[in-house]
Symmetry: C2
Subunit: 640 residues, 2 copies
Amino acid sequence: MGKETRNIYLTNIPLEEAQKQYLTQFKDKNAFKKAEKIFVLEALDRVTTQAVFAKKSSPSYNAAAMDGIAVIAEKTYGAMESNPLSLKLGKEFKFINTGGCLKDPFDAVIMIEDIVEIDDATVEIYNAAKPWQHVRPIGEDIVEGEMILSANHKIRPIDIGALLAGQIQEVEVYQQPKVGIIPTGSEIIEVSEELKDGKIIESNSRMFSGMVQHYGGRPNRYEIVKDDYRLIKETINKAVEENDIVIINAGSSAGSEDYTVNVIRELGEVIIHGVATKPGKPAILASVKGKPVIGIPGYPVSAYFVFEFFLKPLLFQYNRQLLSEGNKIKATLTRRVVSSLKHEEYIRLKLGKVGNKMMATPLERGAGVTMSLVKADGILVVPQQREGYEAGTEIEVTLLKPQEEINNTIVSIGSHDIVMDIIGNHLHTENPQLFLSSAHVGSMGGIMAMKKGECHLAPIHLMDEETGVYNISYVKRYLKDEKMALIKFVKRSQGFMIQKGNPKGIKGILDLARKDIQFINRQRGAGTRILLDYYLKKTEVEVSTVNGYDREMTTHMAVAAAVASGTADCGLGVYSAAKSMGLDFIPVDWEDYDLLIPQKELNKEEVKKLIETMKDGKFLKLIEDLGGYDTKNIGEIIYL
Amino acid sequence: MGKETRNIYLTNIPLEEAQKQYLTQFKDKNAFKKAEKIFVLEALDRVTTQAVFAKKSSPSYNAAAMDGIAVIAEKTYGAMESNPLSLKLGKEFKFINTGGCLKDPFDAVIMIEDIVEIDDATVEIYNAAKPWQHVRPIGEDIVEGEMILSANHKIRPIDIGALLAGQIQEVEVYQQPKVGIIPTGSEIIEVSEELKDGKIIESNSRMFSGMVQHYGGRPNRYEIVKDDYRLIKETINKAVEENDIVIINAGSSAGSEDYTVNVIRELGEVIIHGVATKPGKPAILASVKGKPVIGIPGYPVSAYFVFEFFLKPLLFQYNRQLLSEGNKIKATLTRRVVSSLKHEEYIRLKLGKVGNKMMATPLERGAGVTMSLVKADGILVVPQQREGYEAGTEIEVTLLKPQEEINNTIVSIGSHDIVMDIIGNHLHTENPQLFLSSAHVGSMGGIMAMKKGECHLAPIHLMDEETGVYNISYVKRYLKDEKMALIKFVKRSQGFMIQKGNPKGIKGILDLARKDIQFINRQRGAGTRILLDYYLKKTEVEVSTVNGYDREMTTHMAVAAAVASGTADCGLGVYSAAKSMGLDFIPVDWEDYDLLIPQKELNKEEVKKLIETMKDGKFLKLIEDLGGYDTKNIGEIIYL
């Protein structure tokens, strides 16, 4: 492998232009037009190729609209309360049920409630009938020859009902576009295979399959293809034969083993390589034998967006369906967002309605962070011409979840602990209508978020260096304007996480100054970092002597993972994280991990449910099983 | 059959109360809780029963984030532009691709762009590397033990990606609630059976099946059960055993053959029978062996709404999903709506954006008119306490279609002709983004709708009795305030539609006065009725001598259907309708069927497309094939 095989020249075409240019290629004469005749009973969500006209009227006869008797209207004239008319069964009336057929000479129905049966063969009526009263005329529902559905119509359940009522048994629909999905890369493996260093589980193709299904296509996933020019070429060729659209995943950047673009150039035409979006830049948009072939970058978030940018509109186009813009709402940005003028950027957001304001907090922006997309409630698009937005700006957000769900979400911003995930899950299990979202910005970040009204509650664990008391003094110092409370949550054991068996013989804080020890730290503002600084100061260990002091992680689990992998020897964190990664643990202190909340929120139904959940036996058991937590005072409220 | 078996006592409980009372029954201890373990690859749209935690980190090793070389950061210090550092392959550096594993002792990556290869075993670098630069640390995407999904979460494509990345292969989900659907009624038949008088094609169960699928359940349709107490009881019993929810269709009113409620009373408990809604009043809400059993009325529109009222929230409840309220918009009502204080009424609406206003026109209100639901764009709910709304009121509408579709719809209100359906279909076939909706209110109705700004165009055919010239004088008389135009559409042949072979020997207008002739008329304001009145006057036939003059239909096809069925001997209408119903036809006149449109609309893209469609050869062929149309001047514009 050498530098000479690399291909680093991508274009930088604005998304809208790229979409227009590419999608137009597959519109008119080259458009997907495969039709098939299928049973109406199997036609749900399929799209008609042509108008459908009723074969029969419904009802196909004049039908009684009520239970009662069929009469000849003309022969009922003169009947009145004071002068009832009696009718003889057979010639003068017949019993009839709703839906029954009204036959010559009968031309009206009198309701059963309005007659009196005199004997088995005689009734009396008290009112004359008007011709065709209480009769559903032929075709009231559907008239023979009437257009039931137009062409290009996606068949809904009610349409199936109407088609059957019009005696249509079969309908011509577009075939679902078949999308061939080719995962490539020598480093990727199936989820069922053993996961070794250097190997990554292939997951994008499975995400694509789901998206194809949601957007009206039929996914057709191929086996993983190694980075081999010949193999990739063979597989693309085969897939183009067998499908209507082909996706090749990974291999779309300009990297050295990225054969895809060269293979496609050989097989067909690369229309665009490189789009001015982040994520998604290295997308390959090509045409092979008149069929769309799209190279999608490997990072999961890029993969998702490139699919949304190009495959989704293509599938909608092939299905002749209008692409909806999605639900949009206004929200206030809680953090500054900086973006480059080079591209349009798609930022994942957590949303939360705090008071009357919808607050939007940006999530991690790395294209490799799938969870940023799993957790996202909405998307902010920063246009190419903008360098970003200041905190506090009102922005437009495209929702990824129903707004009801966001409105029903308790927003937590602050320190991270796995108990937040667990209580959120338990709350939602017991109350499916309620959600808890937690953003991890550290304790001080939580206090600042609370001050700015960005969250309903903030988990914090901040030790007062003077008194050793947790949280109270910080709240009093930073949040003077509003009456606050602390909901006591857990006491937790903080300590040094070290490799199993303690190979480096770490005993405590003083070892952090050792030259052979690599430390891994938490981000600024994290309570755990404040705790570390407190101990370093107390023991007079100079920050500059701690290797790795500047290497920051944002969660306990990430610190534990770094120690477990050997890229660090030691980190400060909670017992439960060390335990779950199989690490040894040197306890340092017990700290109070509490939920800061404005007093006025305490009476809200969802907060009451949260406190109820805290005290629930099943939940307490889960926390105890984690180890390193003390739940003695859980759910107590301290008014500040 | 007699009156004594009838059961006419229904309750009249407000919908919200009925929903609350009924749904609560199936919430806590009785709730649906069946779980199953399935492969993640098959878990799309399924709902988790418990939180899912990552089994492995992703990446599970420290991975190169760029193509380049792996180096030991410490050993690169001092490298700079003016003083390049050379590194030896093996001990000092290794080539590495994106995703490659960074192994001890290497702890940083330098991008391939930033090195110069000196020979096969040597490179030069110009900048020192910082530890862990261009490295995706273990767990950057997902950390082992991290919660990927909470309980009660509906799995999306991106979630499948995240689960696989966390090496999850199986996931526990709720079983899809199985919904047994029992169609009952001696008059209903399968669509494949021969349709005779007195028989109706069973279609509701198929609509329900589609709705069950859309709402996350599994439909399980039973064969049609005749109106037989024992059979119905057996089938319900069986269905309760085999399903989680049971629907019995028809038999829920208080009619004589309506055994359902009695059968259910015998098998379990009827919780509510009768809800204060229209349509939907006779719904039966019951519980048999702790499972919901719901009796749904037979009329298709009632059936649809009762499903929406009770089955939809039940399925969402069983799937632990929040029921969204649906998209709502404001619109202006074009017609007065009168409703009873007895119930909450659900009115189907056509919507159209005319100018800047969203206009809402009520559709037919009969519970038997499936097409009113097929055509509906939205629903207006008239609360129980209201007697209705005046025309011009701003109302809230729940959308049944995406708003984009409504915004892209050309709204036609006026006279009915099948060519309107055909051109709408052709327009939408050629331009899937455009829609044409037509409401049938007759020519005069169209002119009034235009005057009130309720439509984009109005198809009219109104003969000036003085001059014999069509349309122009009416437009000049009624629409003085705005510059109008007529788009010439078709000349069409109007005449008397009579039964095949003319059994009654009808020769023309004078025969309408015959005692043995039943006529069927069009509604007031219809151009065809005006034409009839003109000829009656001209030939001095008294209206009172015409049998059936007061029996009104709103379309040519409905008139033709009445004649075809023998309930009328004669009606006035267009040739194409007579032809499609196999009737004989006595031509009376050729009339001009034109599209009235404000001049300012003529430059709009969608109107241009419509005129383009009119002149399209394929469309002209379709119209010619119908017979009775002359398209000589089609697409010409007359400025008035």
